[in-house]
């Protein structure tokens, strides 16, 4: 557990970057610090490993005042990931990953074994181990950055906008894998971002900071979306918050309709239907076609409309609703965990399910910190594009 206790940081020029911040990052959970630029989120993060020293207040790690620990030892016990990965360009990928173990005095063999293990763990091929960082893509570099931070198995991870310098598709992959890894590892993570969507997706707890380094609200994501503490938070959380909050609510059993399908490469049979769903041999949905445009020939890849998203059965309500809304036939495609077609659902049926579920409860006794006490693991989104 990391605890900020009335922490203030004033820089020599008089700027107050962080103002009386009191916040607890619970053990084994992801705490996201989010806010506009100038809100002191990165300064707050760097005070945890003492790259910046607080002016007032204290930060404790499992009850121990970090101000009294040896700086270098403190840092070696905290994984640190930054925006452009910050890999050492003169070292191979494996040597980069093994940085902290070597600093801790592990022997070469143990370091090398551990580095190889982590390379695999973050989803990189073993042959990338001997390359240099400049030979990797931005997304791969960022994975190496995460592996390097995890190398000595530190209980704490500090992450400063780790995914913001990669393109949106890669970012989403990295976020999903990050959640998967965290599910296995259960680190105490403090994560800084300016992207509220990322905060809501990744955080078990989200702390919204306002310019001048004051805490505006800290709560779990679904609560934050449902009950912003004031106009600033409501504004920052942004539009569509009612819709976005649905991603934290698991869909109940939805009334599924069986859907006529056609295999890719075969002639469409369902004459008269306006839209027909195309599947592969494993009944994985591929996209929609319009039979009257195809006539009497076989369906090819070029015929597919791929605009519709696919939701998993018992995934989030948001994914189910989006599947229905994005489908050209207005019938949302629902698949099982292996990705095979279960059936389709219509928007009004999802809405009926939504109306039957409640909103996150409000804790009237603590309007600012409300909701944080009941932190629970957020479900990773289960929404994929038809591809």
């Amino acid at each position: 557990m990391i605890r900020f206790d009335a922490v203030t940081k004033q820089f020599p020029d008089g700027t107050v970057a962080v103002d009386e911040l009191t916040l607890t990052a619970p053990t084994g959970r992801i705490t996201v610090l989010v806010g506009p630029s100038g809100c002191g989120k990165t300064t707050s993060l760097r005070m945890v490993n003492r790259m910046i020293e607080p002016t007032h207040g204290s930060i404790t790690l499992d009850g121990q005042d970090t101000g009294r620990m040896d700086e270098a030892e403190l840092r070696r016990g905290m994984g640190y990931v930054i925006q452009h990965a910050g890999l050492f360009p003169h070292r191979t990928v494996l040597d980069n990953i093994g940085t902290v173990p070597r600093l801790l005095g592990w022997d070469r063999k143990r370091t090398s074994e551990r580095s190889r293990e982590l390379l695999e763990r973050v989803g990189l091929a073993p042959e990338l181990g001997d390359r240099y960082p400049s030979q990797l893509s931005g997304g791969q570099q960022q994975r190496v950055g995460v592996a390097r931070a995890l190398a000595a198995d530190p209980p704490v991870m500090l992450m400063d906008e780790p995914f913001s310098a990669v393109d949106p598709v890669v970012r989403e992959q990295l976020q999903d894998e990050f959640l998967r890894l965290q599910g296995e590892l259960g680190k105490t993570i403090v994560f800084v971002t300016h992207d509220i969507d990322e905060a809501i997706k990744l955080g078990d707890q989200v702390a919204v900071l306002r310019v001048g380094g004051r805490l505006a609200q800290v709560a779990e994501p679904s609560y934050l979306l449902a009950h912003p503490a004031d106009d600033f938070v409501a504004d920052f959380v942004g539009r569509d918050r009612g819709y976005r909050a649905l991603q934290f609510q698991a869909a109940p059993r939805l009334p599924l309709h069986s859907e006529p399908t056609v295999l890719l490469g075969e002639r469409p049979q369902g004459a008269g239907a306006e839209w027909l769903l195309v599947v592969d041999d494993d009944r994985h949905p591929l996209g929609w076609v319009e039979p009257h445009r195809i006539g009497d020939r076989a369906v090819t890849e070029g015929d597919l409309h791929r605009g519709g998203t696919v939701a998993r059965e018992r995934g989030s309500l948001r994914a189910a609703l989006d599947a229905a809304l994005s489908s050209p036939s207005r019938r949302g495609v629902i698949v099982d965990d292996s990705g095979s077609l279960c059936g389709t659902v219509q928007a009004h049926e999802v809405l009926t399910a939504i109306e039957r579920t409640g909103r996150p409860e409000r804790d009237e006794s603590d309007p600012v910190h409300g909701g944080a006490a009941a932190v629970s693991g957020a479900e990773p989104t289960t929404q994929d594009s038809v591809s």
Binding site: R75, Y80, I82, F88, P89, Y132, S134, R148
Partner: protein, 215 residues
């Protein structure tokens, strides 16, 4: 050519003397420049002090420095140590700045990552900062090497013999073969130094030669 054929043993001896009179100061000067450059890069107040001082040293004429050395060191006027110390001073004058600038040029995100990993002190210098500064430092080292080979020939004027002897003797006695041999030998020596430094840089920076690398 006939002159060289008759005197090749002398030329070899003089080349060898030039080699170590220019080479030893290069090595010592490099070693001295590392802590100086590191200090200048680390504390911004020390940067102008250190680099102005070392820069001024380079403006002292070499002949004057050779002549002052025995006074400062208490050595004999013909002692080659005078030349070694004087050239070391010139090397430091050139390299302290290069080392400082090379260390300062380490990208900020990499420096921060090093801090966050728990790197500090000497281990940080030798593990992260110096390796990344190799290309910059090597460029300075090449300039210093050529400069040393050139300046060392002046030492003939104070009686410390090396390749410079061929230039002075060839000029005074108008022996074209000797003069030409001296010039060519000096150039070849400078090229040899340069080649060694370039080769050393390549060995130390495999990461710069991989596909897609940025310098």
């Amino acid at each position: 050519m006939t002159w060289l054929a008759d005197n090749w043993e002398t030329v070899l001896t003089l080349t060898w003397r030039s080699l170590y009179l220019a080479g030893i100061p290069l090595v010592i000067g490099f070693v001295v420049s590392i802590p100086l450059g590191w200090a200048a890069s680390r504390w911004s107040w020390s940067y102008p002090a250190i680099l102005t001082t070392t820069g001024l040293l380079y403006t002292i004429p070499s002949l004057a420095l050779f002549v002052i050395m025995p006074v400062l060191l208490g050595t004999k006027i013909l002692d080659p140590v005078n030349v070694v110390v004087a050239l070391t001073i010139y090397t430091v004058a050139l390299l302290a700045r290069t080392v400082a600038d090379g260390l300062i040029a380490v990208p900020d995100d990499i420096a921060q990552a090093a801090t966050a990993m728990g790197y500090k002190g000497v281990r940080r210098l030798f593990g992260v900062e110096l390796p990344l500064a190799v290309p910059v430092i090597a460029a300075g080292l090449r300039v210093a090497a050529v400069s040393n080979v050139s300046i060392v020939s002046i030492a003939s004027l104070i009686g410390v013999s090396q390749l410079g002897d061929l230039l002075i003797d060839g000029f005074n006695r108008v022996i074209w073969g000797e003069l030409l041999t001296g010039i060519v030998a000096c150039v070849l020596l400078a090229l040899a130094f340069d080649a060694v430094i370039v080769l050393g840089t390549r060995v130390l920076t495999p990461w710069l030669r991989v596909q897609g690398a940025r310098a």
